[in-house]
């Protein structure tokens, strides 16, 4: 047996694979940066158009549309999730049908359907009470809101349903025992707990919604991509204006991610913090 001396030196293991990997990635990044630097991009145009009036209006429209469509989607999602869990087969099957249809048909196609609704129904309203010309009502804004919000509702309904199912049955019973009616029980006891499960995917979907609003450019809604396109049709600075739009999407999504983190922390109260991973 060899006696161990106290002054042995530990030589850390060398991670050659990691070093090589990092080197390859750095090279690739450098190549990409160089490509953009020497590419045919007039960066001064990017800077010039970043805050131009039309782009700002487009940005505001994008944000407003994303928020309104998401609110519509959440409202519909909650209603249809509760319907889906109803004991009444008419209600639950209606919810199943809604989710099936609006989840299956592509969002772009739905936008086009709403925008062209006048081809099917020239006027809308309640017969005898009032009626409007569909063309006048179904502006790009309304068509985009309905198209995006209603398809979002189908996805949100499934998220909300999962959240409601995640709450322990004992919570329903405890709330019932206190004499709460069904609506109060859902609002005060079940939803706040379901939110912990619902918020992360909804945050994800909200971010998806911000980007989905770009589809509305197809039906002439003046969101940011549509504004960028209008400018480059005139000045032919295609890539520069697409970069402008991309920068704003990055900004909005970054801010939303930060807000999402805050909301998640709020609804996680009362639950032991998960171990740092």
């Amino acid at each position: 047996m060899i006696a161990e001396s106290d002054n042995l030196i530990i030589v850390p293991r060398r991670h050659f694979g990691r070093i090589i990997g990092a080197a390859v990635v750095c090279l690739a990044l450098a190549a990409i940066v160089r490509a953009f630097a020497v590419g045919q991009i007039e960066w001064n145009y990017v800077a010039e158009f970043l805050t131009v009036q039309a782009i700002m209006t487009g940005l505001v429209n994008t944000i407003v549309m994303a928020i309104l469509a998401m609110l519509l989607g959440i409202a519909l999602g909650v209603v249809f999730a509760v319907m889906r869990l109803s004991a009444n087969p008419v209600l639950s099957m209606t919810a199943v049908g809604y989710i099936w249809f609006f989840r299956a048909v592509p969002a772009l196609l739905q936008l086009l359907l709403w925008f062209n609704l006048a081809l099917v129904f020239p006027t809308i309203g309640i017969p005898g009470l009032f009626s409007f010309k569909t063309v006048e009502v179904m502006t790009p804004f309304v068509a985009a809101l309905l198209g995006l919000g209603i398809q979002q509702g189908a996805f949100t309904a499934e998220v909300v349903r999962a959240g409601l199912l995640s709450v322990d049955n004992g919570q329903y019973e405890a709330a019932q025992t206190l004499g709460m009616t069904r609506l109060k029980l859902l609002r005060r006891i079940i939803m706040p707990q379901a939110m912990r499960v619902i918020v992360p995917p909804i945050g994800n979907e909200f971010i998806g919604m911000v980007k989905l609003t770009s589809l509305a450019s197809v039906i002439q809604f003046a969101e940011i991509l549509h504004s960028a396109q209008n400018i480059y049709y005139a000045n032919s600075r295609v890539i520069e204006l697409l970069i402008v739009a991309a920068i704003w999407y990055l900004v909005v999504v970054t801010v939303l991610s930060l807000i999402q983190g805050r909301i998640e922390a709020y609804y996680a109260r009362g639950v032991a913090a998960p171990a740092q991973r």
């Binding site: 019973e173 405890a174 004499g179």
Partner: protein
């Protein structure tokens, strides 16, 4: 003040059941039956519980004791027989010889005066101990938050948890959670408290703190129905003990006669099995 007025108005509006007699028991069960699918869980339960009584129900698992408890506050709907609480028919409204099913709001109103303590506590995890207790009074009874909070703090004091008012359930031990749950039921000023194996989910060393709160409560004259495996508690605190097996009350009487000197062989077998 308004609270008291609403309460009086409510009790006056309550339709007196024709079957109701003066001095009737607080809980009356007649031939109560319940089945899940083809399985008969309750096979005709007859029971009368006077106001102020502590009734302990013991029996093997699957004997229907929890189900009977859950029928009293309509977490389960009975399939046969009838139940009355405070002279009011549970779940139905009688006119002539017709029984009309109660709607959601009426069922909720009937549940208000019946507190329930669950085996698994079922505290609301997103609310603090204090918020758990005032939730019912504020949201259901419409009590002002300040009044409810004052009462809740007194209740927390009473169950020995005055320092835990701002703790979330996840920060409390099982015994502490169950004591908050008892305080939450009491905050509704119930006429009747139902305990569904309140100590069965607790670590052994935490059982006594919950039983102590229940003992204190029994001394105040609260009407309690306790489904429990704690035979010592049943013997010391119960005014009567019922032994249930296979959906029936096999034996019912004062604690000593049922627990120490049972007449039925099934009761004897059960008590011996639990003791040893």
């Amino acid at each position: 003040m308004t609270d008291i007025l609403t309460q009086t108005a409510l009790s006056e509006v309550r339709t007196v059941d024709p079957d109701h007699l003066a001095g009737a028991p607080l809980v009356l069960a007649q031939k109560v039956e319940k089945q899940f699918g083809t399985l008969k869980v309750l096979k005709g339960i007859d029971l009368a519980i006077p106001k102020g009584e502590v009734l302990c129900i013991i029996g093997p698992s699957g004997s229907g004791k929890s189900t009977f408890l859950r029928c009293i506050n309509q977490l389960e709907r009975i399939d046969g027989g009838a139940l009355w609480v405070s002279g009011e028919r549970v779940g139905y409204h009688r006119e002539g010889n017709k029984l009309y099913e109660l709607d959601d709001a009426a069922i909720a109103r009937q549940r208000r005066s019946i507190g329930m303590v669950f085996q698994r506590f079922n505290l609301f995890p997103h609310l603090t101990a204090l918020q758990n207790i005032i939730e019912g009074p504020v949201q259901v009874l419409g009590e002002p938050a300040r009044e409810a909070t004052a009462r809740a703090l007194a209740l927390l004091e009473r169950v020995g948890l005055a320092d835990k008012r701002d703790a979330y359930p996840s920060q409390l031990s099982g015994g502490q959670q169950q004591r908050v749950a008892i305080a939450r039921s009491l905050a509704m000023r119930p006429e009747l408290l139902l305990f569904d194996e309140p100590t069965s989910a607790l670590d052994p060393e935490l059982v006594s703190e919950v039983l102590k709160v229940m003992r204190d409560l029994a001394e105040t004259g609260m009407t309690m129905i306790c489904v429990t495996h704690e035979l010592g508690f049943a013997r010391d605190v119960g005014h009567r003990v019922a032994f249930m097996d296979q959906g029936q009350i096999v034996e019912l009487g004062d604690p000593r006669s049922v627990l120490v000197d049972p007449k039925e062989t099934r009761t004897k077998a059960f008590i011996n099995a639990v003791r040893h």
